[in-house]
C-alpha cells in the first residue's frame, strides 16, 4: 500500500499541483487579455475603453467577474436543463485541458505526450460541442441558428487546419510539440512561417474562424442572431462560455507560435536576446498574435456566411491540399525526409 502511494501518489500530487498552478495563472492572464482586447478595440475607435476600476481600468475584468458571479442564474422554462448547464462546463474544461500539453519552454509542460499536436487538434475539434449543446438546449430559435452556424464553420475550417498541420509535421517528422519547437532552433530564418508562408496565413485565418472571432463571428452575429448561442445564458454559465472562448483563442495563438514562430526560441541566437528567458519569448509571441487578433476584431467587417463557407472549402482546402503534396514531393525528391 505504501509502495503504491510512493510510486503513484507523489507524482499524482505533483501533477495536480502543477495543473492548479497553471490553471490559476491562465485564468488571471485571461482576465488581463480580456482587458487588453477591449483596450485595443477602444484605441482603434479613438475611445478610452475600460478606465474606471483600478489604475487605468486594470481591474475591470475582476469587477466583471464579481458581477457575473452575483447575478441571478436564469434557466429558461423550455430549456433542457441538464444539457443547458453541462454545455458551459464542457466548453471551459475542454478549453483549459488543451494547455496540459503546450510546452512554454524546454521541458516546461505538464504532459509531454508523443501526439501533443493531435491532442490539441482533437480538443479544439471537441469545443464545437459546448456551443452546439448550448444552442440546442436553450430551446430557442436564435441560439439554435447560432449553434448550427458555429458547428458548420468549425468543422469546415478544421479540415484545412488539419492539412496545414500535416505540412509542418512532415517537415519536422514528429508529432511531439517540443520536438516541433526544437526543430526551429537557431534563429527566425529557421522558423516555419518562412518556408510555409502560405500555410501560415491560412492557419492564422482558420484559427480566427475556429475560435469564432471577428470577422468570422457569425455564430454570435448580433445584428442577425442577438447574441447567437449564448442568448439564453446569464450569470456564471455565460461567464464560463465567454472565458472558454478566450482560453481557446489563447491556446490557438500558442499553437500558431509553436508551429510557425519557433515557440520559446529567440528570433536571433545572439547574446542580449538569449538572456531573455525562453518562457518570456513564448508568451511575447502569443501576446503578439493575440494583439493581431484584437486589431482584426476592431478593423475588419464581418463576413457573410456563404462567403465564409466558400473561403473554407473552395479556397483554403485546395491550396492546403496542394501544399501537402508539394511539401511531401519536395522532401522526397531532395532527400530531406526527417528521421
Amino acid at each position: 500500500m505504501v509502495d503504491i502511494l510512493v510510486t503513484y501518489g507523489i507524482p499524482a500530487a505533483i501533477i495536480a499541483a502543477q495543473s492548479v498552478f497553471l490553471l490559476v495563472c491562465l485564468l488571471v492572464f485571461v482576465a488581463f487579455i480580456l482587458y487588453a482586447d477591449r483596450k485595443v478595440w477602444a484605441a482603434v475607435g479613438y475611445r478610452k475603453g475600460p478606465n474606471v476600476v483600478g489604475p487605468f481600468g486594470l481591474l475591470q475584468s475582476f469587477a466583471d467577474l464579481a458581477k457575473f458571479m452575483f447575478k441571478e442564474l436564469i434557466i429558461p422554462a423550455g430549456a433542457n436543463k441538464g444539457v443547458f448547464l453541462i454545455a458551459p462546463l464542457l466548453s471551459t474544461t475542454l478549453a483549459l485541458s488543451a494547455w496540459a500539453v503546450i510546452p512554454m519552454a524546454d521541458g516546461v509542460v505538464i504532459s509531454n505526450v508523443n501526439v501533443g499536436i493531435l491532442f490539441i487538434f482533437a480538443i479544439s475539434s471537441l469545443e464545437v460541442y459546448g456551443i452546439i449543446m448550448a444552442g440546442w438546449a436553450s430551446n430557442s430559435k436564435y441560439p439554435f441558428l447560432g449553434a448550427l452556424r458555429s458547428a458548420a464553420q468549425m468543422v469546415s475550417y478544421e479540415v484545412s487546419m488539419g492539412f496545414v498541420i500535416v505540412c509542418v509535421l512532415m517537415t519536422v517528422g514528429s508529432l511531439n510539440l517540443s520536438d516541433i519547437v526544437n526543430s526551429q532552433a537557431g534563429g527566425f530564418w529557421n522558423w516555419y512561417f518562412l518556408p510555409h508562408f502560405p500555410m501560415f496565413v491560412i492557419f492564422f485565418i482558420s484559427t480566427l474562424a475556429e475560435s469564432n472571432r471577428p470577422p468570422f463571428d457569425l455564430p454570435e452575429a448580433e445584428a442577425e442572431l442577438v447574441a447567437g448561442y449564448a442568448v439564453e445564458y446569464s450569470s456564471s454559465p455565460y461567464m464560463m462560455m465567454f472565458m472558454a472562448e478566450y482560453v481557446a483563442i489563447l491556446s490557438l495563438c500558442a499553437l500558431t507560435t509553436i508551429l510557425f514562430l519557433g515557440g520559446w526560441h529567440a528570433p536571433i541566437d545572439i547574446a542580449p536576446l538569449t538572456w531573455v528567458p525562453p518562457f518570456v519569448w513564448f508568451w511575447a509571441k502569443v501576446i503578439f498574435l493575440f494583439f493581431i487578433f484584437a486589431v482584426i476584431k476592431a478593423i475588419v467587417p464581418r463576413y457573410r456566411y456563404d462567403q465564409l463557407m466558400r473561403l473554407g472549402w473552395k479556397v483554403f482546402l485546395p491550396i492546403s491540399l496542394f501544399w501537402v503534396v508539394a511539401t511531401a514531393s519536395f522532401l522526397v525528391f531532395t532527400g530531406t525526409v526527417p528521421q
Partner: protein, 207 residues
C-alpha cells in the same frame, strides 16, 4: 499497474453505461450525446493500451466530425418520439438477431484466445514493438507498405460514397440568382461608372 487497472475500469464502465444509455435514452439528441461519451471513453481505453495515435484519430474523426454531423441531423429532425417507441416489439426479433450474431462473433474471438492462448498475442503485438518507434510511425510502416491496396481501396470506397451522396442531392434549379465571385472581383470602376460633367439646368440628353 493498479492505477492502469483503475483507469481501465473507469473508462470501460463509462463506455458500457453510456452505450446502454444510447439505446435507453428517450430523447434522440441525448442518445447522440451518450454516443459521443462512448467514443470518448473508447479513446481513453486506446490511450491505456499505448495506442495514443489511434485514440486521437478516433477523437478527431469520429467525435470531432462524424458525431457533429449526427447531432446536426438529429437536432434538425422533427420526430415524434412517442411514435418512434411504438414499433419496438415489431423490430425486437431483428434487433435480437443482430445482437446474437455480434455476441457469437465475440464468443468466437475470445473462445479462440481461451482454447489456443498463443493466438492472443498475435492480435495485440505491434511490430516493431512500441518501445522502439512511435505510434504514428508503427502504423505508417505497415499502412503504406503491406496494406497499401486495402488503404487505397478504402479511399476509393469513400470517394465513391461521397460522389454518390453529392449526385443524389444535387439539383439544378432554374431561375435562381447565383453569385459569381470572379465576376464580382473582376468588375472595375471603369466598366460600371461613367462620369459626366452636367451643365446646370440642362440635364443629360442621351444615355
Amino acid at each position: 499497474m493498479v492505477v492502469a487497472a483503475i483507469a481501465f475500469y473507469i473508462f470501460a464502465g463509462i463506455a458500457v453505461a453510456a452505450a446502454f444509455m444510447v439505446i435507453a435514452a428517450r430523447n434522440p439528441v441525448h442518445s447522440v450525446l451518450y454516443l459521443i461519451l462512448t467514443f470518448f471513453s473508447a479513446a481513453g481505453l486506446f490511450v491505456l493500451m499505448g495506442a495514443e495515435f489511434l485514440a486521437m484519430i478516433l477523437l478527431i474523426v469520429y467525435v470531432g466530425a462524424v458525431a457533429v454531423l449526427f447531432l446536426f441531423v438529429v437536432m434538425m429532425l422533427d420526430v415524434n418520439f412517442a411514435s418512434l417507441r411504438e414499433g419496438f416489439l415489431q423490430y425486437l426479433p431483428i434487433g435480437a438477431l443482430v445482437g446474437f450474431v455480434l455476441f457469437l462473433e465475440m464468443v468466437m474471438v475470445i473462445g479462440t484466445w481461451v482454447i489456443a492462448p498463443e493466438t492472443a498475442h498475435l492480435a495485440q503485438s505491434p511490430i516493431p514493438p512500441l518501445g522502439d518507434v512511435t505510434n504514428a510511425e508503427a502504423i505508417g510502416r505497415v499502412m503504406y507498405t503491406q496494406y497499401i491496396y486495402f488503404f487505397q481501396a478504402a479511399g476509393m470506397v469513400l470517394l465513391v460514397a461521397m460522389i454518390g451522396a453529392i449526385v443524389l442531392t444535387l439539383r439544378h434549379r432554374e431561375g435562381v440568382q447565383r453569385q459569381s465571385i470572379t465576376a464580382q472581383v473582376g468588375r472595375r470602376a471603369e466598366d460600371a461608372l461613367e462620369i459626366r460633367k452636367v451643365e446646370p439646368g440642362q440635364g443629360i440628353s442621351e444615355l
